[in-house]
Structures are given as structure tokens and as C-alpha cells.
């Protein structure tokens, strides 16, 4: 989905809040929520792709204003409600107030049929791909040309995994793009490497 989570290359943001005060957690509840979501994954209540997608499904204004662990919390609660583990009403009663959840689930998809496999050195084009469900394709590489540098082991296909759709595992390709291919002249000179699932790629013809 084209959500506000897809931040790579978006402009207008200020300086990174980096410094000696950097912390992983800012309060105890953040640690406990980070633990709870991992336990829920281990218990098989949901998988990592469902978890990531439930964060992306947050109402955009909520997503942008929430802290990292508030997004974790919202995804965990949303999936526990959707999977029937708890009800939204119970959560609001326990919390003593409104408990905003992520918006409804869209549709997933399986692997692209007749997809090609690639070798290091191959030039590839990222498909001009628009899907309504979960996808791990950052929009800044859509339609762009890059070169395969390496191949990973096969992984579950996120577009399917986040939606309970059957699919084959796919390798991801370490694809190297020049920053000027991605953003013309409005970028610093660099090589940008992205892990791209096989179904997101097509041979460069």
C-alpha cells in the first residue's frame, strides 16, 4: 500500500535527533510492549509481516504523530482484536479511554507467475507495481533500474504472508541503484542498496 510509512526520500524533514542522549526505550511500558509483541509472534497469534502491515494500516495522522512503541502497541492490539483474542471494547474499558486501532485489512496477493531469477551482475528493472495490501517495495525504487549485487536465501513472500495468502518463498536480491537514478539531481551522490523480492523485479530488456 502507498502509506505514509513509506518514508524513503520524502522531503521536508529536519535534522536527525542524534546525540549522546539517544535511548532505545524512554519508559518501562515501551519495554513491556516490545516484549509482548514478540511473545505474540512466538505464540503464533500473528507473524512479522502481519505485524508490520498493521503498523502501516494505522490512520496516517495517528502514524505520523505516534512514537515508535505506540505504533508497536497499536499493531499488537489491532491484530489481537482481529484474531479474536480480545475485543476492542474490553481494551477500551481496561484502558479507561478510547483505544485507536489500525484501519481494516486490504487484500494480499501471491507471487508473480513466471517470474525470472537473476544472478549477480544482472541489470534489472523494478516493476511499476501498485498493490492495496502489504508490500516491501519502497516507492522510491518503483520503475527504477539497478544492478543485482548478491542474492539472499528464500524468505516468506510478505505480500502473501501479511494476508494469510499461500505463496512460495522467494529470494531477495541486493539491488544497487545510483542515487541519481532514483531522484535525478536532487540527491547526494551515493549508491543505494535495497533488498528486493523476486516478484518485484523484471529483466531489463
Amino acid at each position: 500500500m502507498d502509506g505514509v510509512h513509506d518514508l524513503g526520500g520524502k522531503q521536508g524533514f529536519g535534522a536527525v535527533g542524534h546525540g549522546p542522549q539517544a535511548k532505545v526505550f524512554h519508559s518501562d511500558w515501551e519495554k513491556r510492549i516490545n516484549a509482548l509483541y514478540a511473545i505474540a509472534v512466538r505464540q503464533g497469534i500473528f507473524n512479522m509481516d502481519e505485524y508490520r502491515h498493521a503498523i502501516e494500516r494505522m490512520e496516517p495522522r495517528h502514524y505520523m504523530c505516534a512514537s515508535y512503541y505506540e505504533r508497536t502497541l497499536t499493531s499488537l492490539a489491532t491484530l489481537c482484536v482481529e484474531k479474536g483474542v480480545v475485543t476492542h471494547a474490553e481494551l477500551e474499558t481496561l484502558a479507561g479511554g478510547l483505544f485507536p486501532l489500525a484501519r481494516a485489512l486490504g487484500t494480499g496477493r501471491t507471487n508473480v507467475p513466471n517470474r525470472s531469477s537473476y544472478n549477480p551482475g544482472d541489470w534489472v528493472r523494478v516493476r511499476d507495481l501498485y498493490v492495496s495490501g502489504h508490500v516491501r517495495l519502497p516507492s522510491y525504487i518503483r520503475g527504477k533500474v539497478g544492478r543485482v549485487i548478491a542474492v539472499s536465501p528464500p524468505y516468506p513472500f510478505p505480500d502473501a504472508q501479511a494476508h494469510g495468502v499461500q505463496a512460495q518463498d522467494e529470494p531477495t536480491y541486493d539491488v544497487q541503484f545510483h542515487s541519481h537514478e532514483l531522484w535525478s539531481d536532487a540527491a547526494d551522490d551515493a549508491l543505494v542498496h535495497v533488498g528486493v523480492f523476486e516478484s518485484y523485479l523484471e529483466p531489463l530488456t
Partner: protein, 201 residues
Amino acid sequence: MESNSDLKAVAAPVERAAAIEMALTSRGVATVEDLAERVHLADEVWLPERGARVVAKAWTDPVFRTRLLANGKSAVAELGIELPAHHRHLVVLENSHEVHNVICCTLCSCTALTVIGLPPDWYKDLEYRARVVRDSRTVLREMGLDLPAETQVRVWDTTADTRYMVLPLRPAGTDHWSESQLATLVTQDSMIGVARALEAK
């Protein structure tokens, strides 16, 4: 989704966190022991000191360094460092005078957390996620790392379950340092690639 109409204000995150924790523990989905174990891992085990040991060993043991660059996951396992099952591949990116690597995750905040530690707040903030992939050299300079013009920058966006860590350059003047001394120079920032390893004093 139903919701109680007599409740008007949004509960604070701390209250919402307590609510979902209560709901899950009362159903036995998570036990007090499970929670304590996971909090312990985050607080005491998944720390940047682990990655620092890996870097220091790579600096002093060329054969290990070769194994680390060839297969990060199996090489860190030699030091007793496991990756979660879904992280099937660890790619170690070696900095040189010619190439500087920096890692990010633009779509969420994926990290090799069991090796380089859980990511700090700024890594997860919108600013870093939006900007480093596009304005890499500018962002690094703002963060205090001014790279020579001839050094090529490579940005690694963690969009799949392959994980990355940067192997920083070994600081000058450390020729006779032990592995454990060297490890004290390796910061989490240097394994993300937003800083060099600390200078020898």
C-alpha cells in the same frame, strides 16, 4: 469495529499498553516469566557490546574476518550470537578509505538487533528514515561524520529480512591493542555507519 460510545478521550499510551498487557496475561497468552525473559534480553543481552566483540575479532583475526564477510550469520554464531529465525542472512559491510557504508530501514526500523543492539530512538524517527537514503552525505555531516569527497557512500535499506551491520575502519594507533581493548572503541553508531569507531587515546 465496536467501541464504547461513552468513552470520549483517547487513553494515554501507557494506559493502552497496560490494557493490552492485562488482556494478554489474564488469558495466559503471555506469562510474567515470558515478559521478564524478553525484557531481560532487551536490557542485558541484545547490546551493542556484542557487535563490538565481532568487530574487534574481525580487526585482529583475518581468517575470522574473511568468514564474517562471507557469511555473517555463521561467523557471529561462533561468538555465541544467534539471530532470530526469520533473519536468515547477515551481511557485513566493510568500510574502507574508498567506501563508507551506512544502514537504515525506510519502511519501518529493521535492524540486526541481536548483534548490534536494539536501535536507538533517532534510527526509528521519521527524519532518519526519510532522509538518509536520499541525502546521505548531508545527513552524515549533520550527525558529525564529514567524509572526504573521494569516499563513496553506500546506503543499505533493510527492506527484507536480510540484516546488515557495518564493519568500521580500525582506528590508527591500535596496532598492539588486544581484542577486548579494541572492542571498547566500537560504538553502535559505528556499526550503523553514522560514525567512525572511537579514536585511540
